[in-house]
């Protein structure tokens, strides 16, 4: 159970980073119409992609818990659990550096 939760977190965190890097929201929330547009990346007016990125991540995490056997990576889990989030934070800082240049 614990190992599956850890696999979920790692997969979802990686998937979230990929989702915003490559614009893979599960849906877009259209602020003008107040509706969800599935598998879209734009809307007619201002839109929120964050909800969609988060859902993409959760979905990927759930799929990973089903298909990745925890025993396969159990040996590496203790190290991956802090190393992967640290790398993903650096990736977020690098991605958003455009606002500060």
């Amino acid at each position: 159970m614990s190992a599956r939760l850890m696999v979920f977190s790692l997969a979802a965190a990686i998937a979230y980073t990929l989702a915003y890097y490559f614009d893979w929201p599960l849906f877009v929330y259209d602020l003008t119409g107040g509706e969800l547009r599935f598998f879209a990346t734009t809307a007619s007016g201002p839109a929120i992609l964050w909800y969609g990125w988060l859902m993409t991540a959760i979905l990927a995490g759930l799929v990973a818990t089903l298909i990745v056997p925890p025993r396969l990576i159990e040996r590496f889990l203790p190290d991956l659990l802090w190393f992967v989030p640290a790398v993903l934070i650096v990736a977020a800082l690098l991605y958003e550096k455009r606002w500060f240049l």
């Binding site: 909800y51 802090w82 989030p85």
Partner: protein, 153 residues
């Protein structure tokens, strides 16, 4: 309604900040109860007791933040863009990513605090410190942006 939710969001965030900071310091502490300083005593606590509260508070704060987010996009972000406050926009974008990363890392964080195996001691400590750092960032940036422009029109 928005103002009440923003205040609740802030209050829950303060509770979360306190809980995870206390836990992070406890996770890094050597359990030496003979030391008498305030800081040493502050750190001598059972960190495992905080994990449920941290998860519940984080989900609560995140849910309220998600509800408030459209209002931010309508009220605050256009103003930041008009005033060309790019750094303010950027720090909020980071807050957005850090919130999502922390939310999906919660199951692993919770699981490490349930593991008695010493193999997970390092992961438990660093994951807690990472989450504490993200919570601090999000709290400070939330306060900063509220100071620049509140959510109410």
């Amino acid at each position: 309604m928005i103002t009440a939710l923003l205040i609740l969001h802030g209050l829950a965030a303060v509770a979360l900040l306190g809980a995870i900071t206390h836990q992070a310091l406890a996770a890094a502490a050597r359990q030496d109860i003979r030391r008498r300083s305030f800081f040493a005593r502050f750190r001598v606590t059972d960190g495992a007791l905080y994990s449920n509260a941290v998860v519940v508070l984080f989900v609560l704060v995140g849910a309220m933040g998600a509800i408030l987010y459209p209002q931010y996009r309508i009220t605050v972000r256009p103003m930041l863009q008009t005033m060309d406050l790019r750094a303010a926009n950027g720090v909020f974008e980071l807050k957005e990513h850090f919130s999502a990363l922390a939310l999906v890392l919660l199951p692993a964080y919770w699981a490490t605090w349930r593991q008695s195996a010493s193999d997970y001691a390092t992961a438990r400590k660093w994951l807690t410190w990472i989450l504490a750092g993200l919570v601090w960032w999000n709290f400070v940036i939330g306060q900063l942006l509220a100071a620049i422009k509140g959510l109410v029109l």
